[in-house]
Amino acid sequence: MMNKQVRQLLAQYGSLPAALEDLGNDADLYAAGLSSHGSVQLMLALEDTFDVEFPDNLLNRKTFASISAIEAAVNGLVGERDAA
């Protein structure tokens, strides 16, 4: 479910030149063409969709390096939000 949504947002906001279906969950998104601007757009879309806010310490390249990394970060934030 989360994986599908992340992939959807990535397709919509990431401006990747390659087709997402061919991209593994651990594939390097920067190598696949994710730009700095694309990662910012994606970050804002993830916040909107999952009703979370990325804290400053997650606003870096590592957080958005792969689909798995993004899922892990968003899962963590959703968990924190629901626990609060």
Binding site: S36, H37, S39, V40, M43, L44, D56, L59, N60, R61
Partner: protein, 303 residues
Amino acid sequence: MDMQTSSLLDRLFSAGLLIDTGVDGLYGRSGAFEDVITRFERLIDRFGGDDNPEAIRFPPGMNRAHFEGSGYMKSFPQLAGTIHSFCGCELDHVNLLQCMTDGEDWTTEQKATDIVLTPAACYPLYPTIAKRGALPAGGGLFDLQSYCFRHEPSKDPARMQLFRMREYVRMGKPADVMAFREDWMQRGTKLMEQVGLPVEIDVANDPFFGRAGKMYKNNQRSQNLKFELLIPINSVASPTACMSFNYHQDHFGKTWDLKTEDDETAHTACVGFGLERIALALFHHHGLDSGEWPETVRQALWG
């Protein structure tokens, strides 16, 4: 604002080096101040001239379409300055004068012109060079200087709203562009040594706007895309950036469809000198009377 900062500005006013206009960050310059900048630019020429850059001088305003295409508003909306003019009829003029007489805001009906104040000396360059077609073999090297505008009023004389930036810009293959930047980090240090200024070079980021900006800043730092040459002016603890060394990767290449001779997207880098900041550093370190500066410094600048 700490006491030290306001006193440096006051001392510059008292010495007549800078002239108060009533707006923070907008100053007149004396002949002595300008002479230092002229001489320093000649020193820059001695370090960079042998590379045979193509010199281009743009006025401090740029084509609004080029400004819009550059993406500047995505990153630095808070710093941009647009030029607006009166475009109305005679009745609008009467109303405008009435507003001024009544002390009301007469600027609301001003319309945006096709000109935007140049935010960095190299911004007009990329679309200009892209228009020529693919770069020649070996890429391109350019020598620029322009007044630049950034809307950030401050009493810190090292943070002016209108200031001059001298730049060398390299366009071409990634390795060539990165070698250019590396080379200038060493040249910059040597150059400042010749005029007796203490320097350090550190990784840096641009003042990107908002939360998205936080991410741009972190990305820029983690990829070592920007370095600054820092010199203490107002404070030893937080020295002032007097030069910057920027690797844009393929950002401007992609933005303007700028190609290398073998049809790859060009990479670009620039090295910038903050001319007023360097003059301020010289006055701060060697005294407000340039005639009394150490002989070695005078020799380097006046020969």
